[in-house]
């Protein structure tokens, strides 16, 4: 029960952030911030699981910078790269939970 309240609250805060960022965004493409926040939350989750990749955070920041100066095309390329990295890192974490033990020298 507490867990579901907690996750609802998290979702709510997440929604608020998305709303706030969308409201301040000056672009015609409001999706950027939504995708950015999602990618960043994947990155953070990978980090919690000890599997964040080296450059993901930097790429996300660069994407944001490009977006700010209306370099939308570049911004989206970077964003999708960072998003793909985060998802791959999470997949790696899940895979490794099952496979690291096989490598132990016996």
């Amino acid at each position: 029960m507490t867990i579901s309240i907690f996750s609802t609250l998290k979702l709510f805060i997440f929604g608020l952030c998305v709303f706030a960022l969308n409201a301040t965004a000056n672009s015609t493409n409001p999706d950027f911030n939504t995708i950015w926040l999602e990618a960043d939350s994947f990155r953070k989750e990978a980090g919690i699981q000890g599997h964040e990749w080296r450059d993901t955070a930097k790429i996300l920041l660069r994407a944001r910078k490009e977006f700010k100066v209306s370099n939308n095309e570049k911004a989206f390329v970077l964003l999708s790269k960072a998003r793909a990295e985060s998802i791959a890192a999470l997949a790696q974490a899940a895979r490794e939970r099952k496979s690291w033990e096989r490598r132990v020298i016996k």
Partner: protein, 276 residues
Amino acid sequence: MKKLVFLIASLALALYGTILFAGPEVEQAAFKAYFHNKFPDVDKADFINGVYALDKNAREQWVEIEEFPPYEIAIDEGELLFNNTRFTDGKSYGHCFGTGQHLRKKYPYFDEERAQVITVELAINDCREKHGAKPLKYKIGDLAKISAYLSYHSRGDVIDVIVSGSAAIQAYNKGKEYYYTKRGQLNFACVDCHVSSAGKRLRTEILSPSLGHVSHFPVYRLKWGSIGTLHRRFSGCNSQVRAKSQPGQSEDYRNLEFFLSYMSNDLKFNGPGVRR
């Protein structure tokens, strides 16, 4: 009846066997045996010299560098820092570490009360904070120099890490998992480079065996142009495979150090070292 006794006896034996054969001790023996078999010509005590135990050419260059070792300044500065630092309460490092001689072999150890691995670098900052001083940076600088001084005065002592009790075994197991887990965009685990590929070339460098890895830190690296701690090296190896590295003395790194040190038990401390 006889059958039942036999059954119970064999079950008990099997249980005892799994406890006996799956613990740190057995894993350590297997780890060492792997390297001893892979490199039968290398003297067992020589694994503390890393890549120089494996490659003759690299060893010759290294022996030459060791004639005027670039880490000597760090030892001297570390000695001054160790002996001359006075904290605001008038105390010194000596209040925590005595003379500083033969200290290295006490670390890393598992502190039951704090329920965590304590490394020598962590202990240095603990000492500072206990006496009202700010902690030092963990990977470079003064702390690495003090560590170099302490290592120097522990040369020849035997690595003797104890893993006993369920909490310590848990820390060991976490370190083990870290060691064997693939990370980063390049999807490599420590074991991939420092076990199966030990002795092979990776770009310009020859890969060292993990056995003996902890013996000679901190290390003066020519590439760094300065002395750095073991955790600085860990984070370098993380970055190399494009994984996010961790801060010095993170719990993961300390558990990793605990595991790796235990794997190198019975070898001798020979720090500080010099590496390319």
